[in-house]
């Protein structure tokens, strides 16, 4: 599974990094999210889907 954050849509709500800290990190400046690695580490898929569903801006997408 691959995961992406649309940096145009992200507004720094920080939910994804709380749900899946091993997948998303927050930029210091504005709390906007970026993926640490596009390839989702094994065992993190559930958290990533939870993050996709929780994002207030619908800025996160996955590709199987």
């Amino acid at each position: 599974m691959k995961v992406r954050v649309d940096s145009e849509r992200c507004q720094g709500h920080t939910l994804c990094a709380m749900i899946a800290p091993e997948v998303f990190r927050l930029r210091e400046i504005d709390g906007h999210s970026e993926v640490i690695d596009e390839e989702v580490p094994a065992g993190q898929e559930t958290q990533v889907i939870e993050a996709v569903n929780s994002c207030p801006e619908r800025a996160i997408s996955t590709i199987d």
Partner: protein, 458 residues
């Protein structure tokens, strides 16, 4: 516009799930769990005839789907009738004609996004963590004022003060002026309209407005770092908004920063007093338990109980057909008690997992200050647990807000505890020191300019 028979029939059908919903009554506060269960079971989206008629969403899935449908919702408060005449986020519309809209919470994108982008560098997790030594120092001083006496009012002596002082510090307003803001902000929430008390609160509000306006003018003339400076210098489409609009933004920051965190802290401390075994558990296991416990208190007490919206285009969401112009109440508080998402929803479970609460709102208007709220709450609670571990709240003197239509908060929460030694200076002296540190270290700069944490020496 003539109304056809077909429209009337359709309307009856669309609004067939009806519930007389009045969240501003003491009865709603008393029967909150019962009403929530009934609405979620029978009509998770209901039409209520109250306040000119409006929809009420109480189910978690319904609230979640609606709140995230930004293309069909508007937060706009069109005070001057320049756009579509929408009424913002308050239901009912406040009686006194307001001249100030509620900042970017009563705006739609793209304007709303520009404001959030301008303020995020002051409120991001990294930005907020710079303030932890200041939060700790003010908290310490508040507790020191009471520690030798063995008595404290957790609202008046702690939970009102720390969020207010920190919010003003972040704005770039002198922290010693917290008293000018404190009472009007809290009292505006719990004072009933058309009472002598309301007249006094209105006067205090005007005084606060004048002070805030003065700060805007002062910071424009002699810029100093902080959220006020960010607000007065933000250009949207090459223009600075008019002063009333700017005051609305600043009032939103103050309203969001003060009463909500106070409410969360008071209600949580009261619960911990009633559940001493859980309190001891939380204190002992704080490294792992404090984070989920904070989310659980947020869920269970939901300080800001909901938000109004206007439907901006005909649509069907979560199984209900809405018409443009209709009003909608999104109940974060009721969504937070939905058993399909939160097993045993009316029980506090400090270790609750997967806590997808709606307490900061959902969707594009989600609280911009959530990182501040969480941090301030945790730092206050930890110091209370350390310094007043056996505190016992006094139900006689405890005063909850009569109604929970806007904020689920408390006016007073007195407690007694085994006295202890002071650790440092009192509040007044500490605020002077904090002001000096803010000024010298330019703490209120955005994190883009200043990255280091505040330094507080002995």
């Amino acid at each position: 516009m003539p109304v056809s028979t077909e429209d009337v029939v359709n309307d009856d059908e669309r609004k067939s799930n009806r519930y007389h919903f009045d969240r501003h009554t003491p009865e709603y506060r008393r029967k909150f769990e019962e009403i929530t269960e009934e609405m979620q079971g029978r009509c998770p989206v209901a039409w209520s005839d109250t306040y000119g008629g409006h929809w009420v969403a109480s189910g978690h899935r319904e609230v979640f789907d609606l709140a995230r449908s930004a293309e069909y919702l508007s937060n706009d408060n069109d005070l001057k009738g320049e756009r579509r005449g929408y009424k913002g986020i308050s239901i009912p519309t406040p009686e006194r004609m307001s001249t100030v809209r509620g900042g970017f919470l009563e705006m739609d994108p793209p304007e709303q996004r520009y404001w959030r982008q301008a303020l995020n560098p002051y409120l991001s997790p990294a930005a907020v963590s710079r303030w932890i030594p200041v939060i700790d120092e003010v908290t310490r001083a508040c507790l020191d004022e009471r520690i030798e006496s063995g008595r404290i009012d957790f609202v008046d002596d702690l939970a009102n003060i720390v969020p207010a002082v920190l919010t003003l510090a972040m704005m770039g307003i002198p922290v010693k002026d917290w008293t000018v803001y404190n009472e009007p902000v809290h009292a505006a929430v719990y004072t009933r309209p058309n009472t002598p008390e309301a007249v006094r609160v209105a006067q205090l509000h005007q005084e606060m407005g004048r002070h805030l306006y003065g700060q805007m003018a002062e910071i424009r003339a002699n810029p100093r770092p902080g959220l006020v400076n960010a607000v007065v210098t933000t250009e949207i489409n090459g223009q600075i908004a008019d002063d009333m609009e700017l005051l609305g933004i600043l009032s939103l920051i103050i309203g969001g920063g003060f009463d909500t965190t106070t409410a969360l802290t008071a209600r949580s401390l009261e619960w911990l007093s009633d559940n001493p075994a859980e309190r001891e558990h939380l204190s002992r296991e704080r490294d792992t338990l404090l984070n989920p416990a904070t989310e659980e208190f947020l869920r269970f007490f939901t300080p800001a109980v909901g938000d109004g919206r206007t439907i901006s285009a005909d649509c069907e969401i979560a199984g209900t057909r809405f018409k443009e112009g209709e009003r909608l109440w999104l109940s974060w508080a009721m969504a937070n008690r939905d058993p399909s998402v939160f097993p045993d929803p009316n029980k506090v479970d400090l270790a609750r997992k997967g806590n997808r609460h709606a307490s900061f709102g959902l969707g594009i208007h989600r609280c911009i200050g959530s990182n501040v709220a969480r941090t301030v709450f945790k730092r206050m609670v930890v110091q209370v647990l350390d310094r007043m571990p056996d505190y016992k709240c006094d139900p006689e003197g405890t005063v909850h807000y009569d109604t929970v239509g806007v904020i689920n908060g408390m006016r007073h929460l007195p407690a007694t505890f085994t006295p202890g030694p002071r650790l440092g200076a009192g509040l007044e002296e500490t605020l002077e020191k904090v002001q000096q540190i803010c000024d010298e270290q330019r703490l209120a700069e955005p994190v883009t300019v200043r990255k280091a944490q505040a330094k507080i020496s002995g």
